[in-house]
């Protein structure tokens, strides 16, 4: 990015309705990927001057234990529903989960899910870290996920969505193919990067805040059924528009939210709808980026 400038110059402007046509495998119109956030929040992390991790002094019991619900109860509930309808996950991973609860990571890996980094912990914020610290986090992510799963991470979602002006250049330099941090489009787009040593390409794959379950339940205050209906509407529109040029729909999830007993049933119905529709290319993030890149 262009640091300090009003326009960070992250990408070129391309009007939605006049782009070269993207086609997805099998003539599908909308690439659908599910992004479970498999996270670890620390109970008593060091405090960052720009952001407080918890509403109460440690232990912030509801905040911490709500998220811990993912790793004791709701991960498997969510994962089973996804597997039942043929949706692999592309995991936004707090990589320290590989140490704390390897059973959760192993379950996701065994289901054929892809992993990308969501930082070490979701309670460590990237603002103001040095380049050396940021490189250490990236290298730690690559090494930790490779040791735990055998997979080389290809993407990045900044921990707690906290960035530095150099993050995108750095992840491109380390060979990553996509970022999930930019919300400017419903199609894969190129990101302008200037990695050290030159070269490097980075794609922005549509993630979503708008249909993220956290926004659904605690920003837009939806019930489980309203959220499921939102996913279906989002999908229907993107699948229709994808006739012109392939679109992307992401369903970003947190097991401790979507895997609550009053929400998981309606969510399963939404997945079933999308799986049965016939226009969805149900894929992992890396496959979507590869297919798009091959058409550039």
């Amino acid at each position: 990015m262009r640091e300090g400038a009003p326009d960070p110059e992250l990408y070129e402007y391309h009007p939605y309705t006049s782009r070269p046509k993207i086609t997805w495998p099998g003539g599908k119109t909308c690439a659908v990927w599910v992004a479970p956030n498999l996270e670890y929040y620390e109970i008593d992390p060091p405090i960052h001057p720009k952001r407080s991790p918890w509403p109460h002094p440690a232990p912030s019991v509801v905040g911490y234990s709500h998220r811990d619900h993912s790793n004791r109860v709701s991960h498997w509930r969510m994962a089973e529903v996804m597997s039942r309808h043929g949706f692999p996950g592309s995991v936004s991973l707090s990589v320290a989960l590989c140490q704390h609860h390897p059973e959760v990571v192993a379950d996701a890996n065994a289901r054929g899910w892809e992993f990308f980094s969501h930082g070490i912990y979701n309670t460590r914020y990237s603002y103001d870290i040095t380049e050396a610290q940021e490189r250490a986090i990236i290298e730690d992510s690559i090494r930790t996920v490779e040791d735990a799963t055998g997979q080389r991470i290809r993407g990045w979602l900044a921990p707690a969505l906290t960035h530095t002006p150099r993050t995108l250049d750095l992840i491109a330099e380390y060979g990553m193919d996509y970022t999930c941090d930019l919300y400017h489009d419903d199609q894969v787009q190129d990101v302008k990067v200037n990695p050290k040593g030159g070269g490097g390409q980075l794609a922005s794959i549509p993630y979503s805040l708008e249909v993220n379950d956290h926004y659904g339940f605690f920003v837009y205050n939806m019930s489980g059924r309203e959220y499921a209906d939102t996913l279906v509407r989002q999908y229907e529109r993107l699948a229709a528009e994808g006739e012109n040029s392939g679109t992307v729909m992401c369903i970003p999830l947190h097991a401790y939210l979507i895997g609550q007993p009053h929400r998981i049933g309606p969510f399963e119905e939404a997945l079933e709808h999308i799986a049965k529709d016939g226009r969805a290319w149900i894929a992992r993030a890396g496959e979507i980026v590869d297919s798009w890149r091959a058409q550039q």
Partner: protein, 305 residues
Amino acid sequence: MSTLPDSYTQYPNRREGYDHGLYEWSNIHNRKPIKWPGEKPIAVWLCVSLEWFPITPSGPFKAPGHMVTPYPDYRHYTSRDYGNRVGVWRMLDAFADAGVKASFAANAAIAERYPELIEAIQSAGHEIIAHSTDMNGTIDATLGEETERALVADAMHRMEAATGVRPKGWLSIARQQSFHTLDILKDEGLTYCCDWVNDELPYRFNNGLIDLPLNHELSDRTIITVQQKSADSWLESMHDAADWLTKEAAGAGSGRMLPIHLTPYIMGLPYRIGALEALLSNFAKRDEVWFARGDEIVAAWEDQE
């Protein structure tokens, strides 16, 4: 230049298991199956909070529902106390009509101030859970161990003096604790607390106390007050939860639990109470439901631990 020390990117508690020693990790889907009495798939635990908000707020943090306007906040003082004067009586009638027993998490001040209410709760066979002194009795790490110890002891002593019974269960205000709370509760002779919402069955902390998770996501406060849904939407969510848990229990061959946390000044209003009555009447007809008090669920779990 970083404004952050090197320690900000060091992780001394990065290890297998938790970054604390309060309890051990466990996957609910891999545990020994639990059987509820009568082989019922789901234990439905009704838990009603009885809260008295002094019009003079104090304590380490302001309890949810506490005073809002400059003193004197008649608006919130009275609309909270409405629950204790009117709303909870509607709930007691609804429980009696459905023939079910519930837990009442009560401030000690409620027991002292409203003996008629306590008498009605006890004579109907409901359980009383300790819920601090009054709604100024919040706990967090800033309170200090000795002050917290005195607060819990005071709440327990006053509750026992007013009701003749020493509660087995404890619910912290806003479920908020300090790192000392679990030990203090154990030392006060409590069997369980309801504060940690990380599980859907009871489990034991490393100090021997039990957690009976009172899911805040399924509470009337979260659904109606925080998320601003209607009582009908709450009802729909409770049905969806019961349907899912019944199915999951059958698949797992293990009991599941549905905690329903109610607040008299929220669900006890004239235009909302019908949703609770509809839920109770539906659940009372379902063969899969075991309505149980918190202490009964804990006892059933302990028998099979």
